[in-house]
Amino acid sequence: MYERHAEYMLGVCYRYTKSMSDAEDVLQDGFIKVFRNLHQYKSDGELGAWIRRIMVNTAINYLKQQSRTRADLSFSEANLHPVASDNPEINLTVKELAELIRQLPTGYQTIFNLHAVEGYTHVEIGELLGIHEGTSRSQYARARGLLITWIKKNALENKTPVYAKSRL
């Protein structure tokens, strides 16, 4: 089971963290939870989806526990990144796109992953992160706008933007 799902789950963890080392830490903790709670898995659901849900929850807890990221994991409305309503074509490789997502501020990164990739609703995100639903919506909109800006910029410059330069 580990060999079958480990590579994909590391990709999931990678999107929520800032380094491969952190991603592997989350993957490790997540799989330990998986094996310890395997008896709770109901066969009517897909095993991969169940493991993925555990990985996402583990990643959220990991981010909350990290003191340095806790400061980043703020969902303040003060971050006024532009909201982009357009829909650019994504001419990036999978890893390039993943790198852009990881360069979002941690709060943006988390909410973007939960909503855009995992498909969580803003109500669910609010409950999961302990924030208001509206905050999740606005944070997502700004994360999306920032990401689109970078994608467009990357398309123009044909290179990945540097997170340090873009971060406000």
């Binding site: 480990a6 590579e7 590391l10 990709g11 991603a23 592997e24 993957l27 990739v117």
Partner: protein, 456 residues
């Protein structure tokens, strides 16, 4: 719609995101889940190891404390005394750190009976009257007249006994004891050894010729008694037959497999009856020895009764052949037909010698585990011949000696004089000795009671 396309595009691309985790991740995952997998068995093994360790320790301690006494019983008198002297002198050397110049050398002590040089030993007078009495009997201060004719024997082996036992500051008292060798039976020598050992252990007896302070006094607590409890053990419950520990037997006793015993052309008969549970009980006596604060070793002698019920047909009082095969057959004078619903109670009577280890794991609760060696003294249980479809009695087809294990959790009340609780017993030995067919084991679940009547 466009917004949804963007999310969908991102989602699709992220589904393809994969990385190869390093080997360290799996190692840590494995390390993280391994302890939990093994935690429960480890606890069981820990308890099991504890039981063995505790039992072994107490056995070792008890054995070693009686070792010298046992050894003396099988040695010549002179050797026994000499050996004891060596032991005690060696202890003295170790405790005082000085070489006892006046002490008997081991070479002297090892002189065999019959040599002309007398051997002397220093004896301390025990402060216990009981011990003194025994010493007086074995080591008379004044030889009797009747022993005079054996003076030359006295000189062969004489125990001069300047004794010392002055740990309270009392002036050491010295006496001289003479032991006529011909009067030293194996028993008396053994007792002598016991007295020396007992005195040495309890009063710090020193065998050197120099008075040495002993280590105990009159005010010392008395020697710890052998803490034995005696009483009655009884149990009542149900029993059946099992093919394995937790698998009930599905058929009546099968001495021979029906297929093997079927001669060609024999008409197949109905399957043997199902085995229903029956009454079981036991009654006996026990002796428990306290081994420690929470441990007891129990021995007993018990009568055990097991039974189960099968359905048989009518009884036929005429001779018949059963267990026919290509090599042999048995002849019985009566049998039961297989078709019928008449209940038949298979009864097993056994005399048993249980050995139990009790562990008090809570203030009122004791876990008792034991092994029971039994001899089946009588049974009326039926065997089934699959070829002829007949139930018949055949005593020789049973294993008369049975080894079983039992476990019980007992609750103590009435000042801990009564223990009561559930007990499970399973016989390891196959009930049937034919070696064919499915194995059958006696099994019972009962309520057990240990009633302590007295103790010393």
């Amino acid at each position: 719609m466009q917004k949804a396309d963007f999310e969908k595009n991102v989602q699709e691309k992220m589904q393809e995101l994969r990385f190869q985790p390093s080997q360290e991740v799996w190692k840590h995952v494995e390390a993280g889940i391994t302890p939990q997998r093994r935690r429960r068995p480890m606890v069981i093994w820990f308890l099991f190891a504890g039981l063995l360790l505790a039992g072994g320790s107490f056995y070792f301690i008890n054995t070693s404390s009686n070792k010298n006494i046992s050894a003396n019983k099988h040695q010549q008198p002179g050797q026994a005394i000499a050996g004891k002297q060596e032991t005690i002198i060696e202890k003295e050397n170790n405790s005082n750190g000085t070489a006892p110049e006046n002490a008997l050398s081991s070479a002297e002590n090892k002189k065999p009976v019959g040599t002309s040089e007398p051997s002397t030993i220093d004896l301390a007078k025990s402060k216990r009257d009981r011990t003194n009495k025994k010493q007086d009997q074995i080591l008379p201060l004044k030889p009797k007249e009747s022993q005079q004719e054996k003076v030359f024997i006295k000189e062969d082996w004489v125990a001069d006994a300047p004794a010392s036992f002055d740990q309270t500051g009392v002036e050491p008292r010295t006496f001289r004891a003479t032991i006529p060798i011909e009067q030293q039976s194996e028993t008396s020598i053994s007792n002598f050894g016991k007295d020396i050992l007992g005195a040495n252990e309890t009063t710090g007896l020193n065998l050197s010729s120099e008075p040495v302070s002993a280590s105990t006094s009159k005010n010392n607590p008395p020697v710890k008694k052998m803490n034995w409890q005696f009483g009655i053990a009884a149990a009542g419950g149900v029993s059946d037959l099992a093919e394995q520990l937790l698998q009930s037997a599905s058929a009546a006793n099968l001495a021979f497999d029906s297929l093997q015993s079927t001669v060609g052309g024999t008409v197949p008969h109905p399957k043997p009856s199902e085995v229903q549970k029956g009454v079981s009980f036991s009654l006996g006596v026990f002796a428990n020895k306290t081994l420690g604060e929470k441990w007891k070793l129990g021995l007993g002698l018990t009568y055990q009764y097991f039974s189960n019920t099968i359905k048989v047909g009518a009884k036929v009082d005429s001779a018949a052949f059963v267990n026919q095969n290509n090599f042999a057959m048995d002849r019985v004078s009566q049998y039961y037909k297989s078709t019928g619903d008449n209940p038949y109670h298979n009864q097993y009577h056994l005399i048993s010698l249980p050995v139990n280890m009790q562990w008090q794991f809570a203030r009122k609760f004791t876990w008792e585990n034991g092994l029971t060696f039994s001899r089946m003294i009588k049974t009326n249980a039926l065997h089934y011949d699959g070829a002829s479809g007949r139930y018949y009695e055949e005593d020789e087809l049973f294993n008369k000696y049975q080894l079983s294990a039992s476990t019980a959790v007992l609750f103590a009340f009435h000042k801990n004089k009564i223990q009561l609780g559930p007990q499970f017993q399973y016989a390891f030995t196959n009930l049937i000795n034919s070696g064919t067919g499915n194995p059958k084991h006696l099994r019972s679940v009962s309520i057990k009671a240990n009633i302590e009547l007295w103790k010393n």
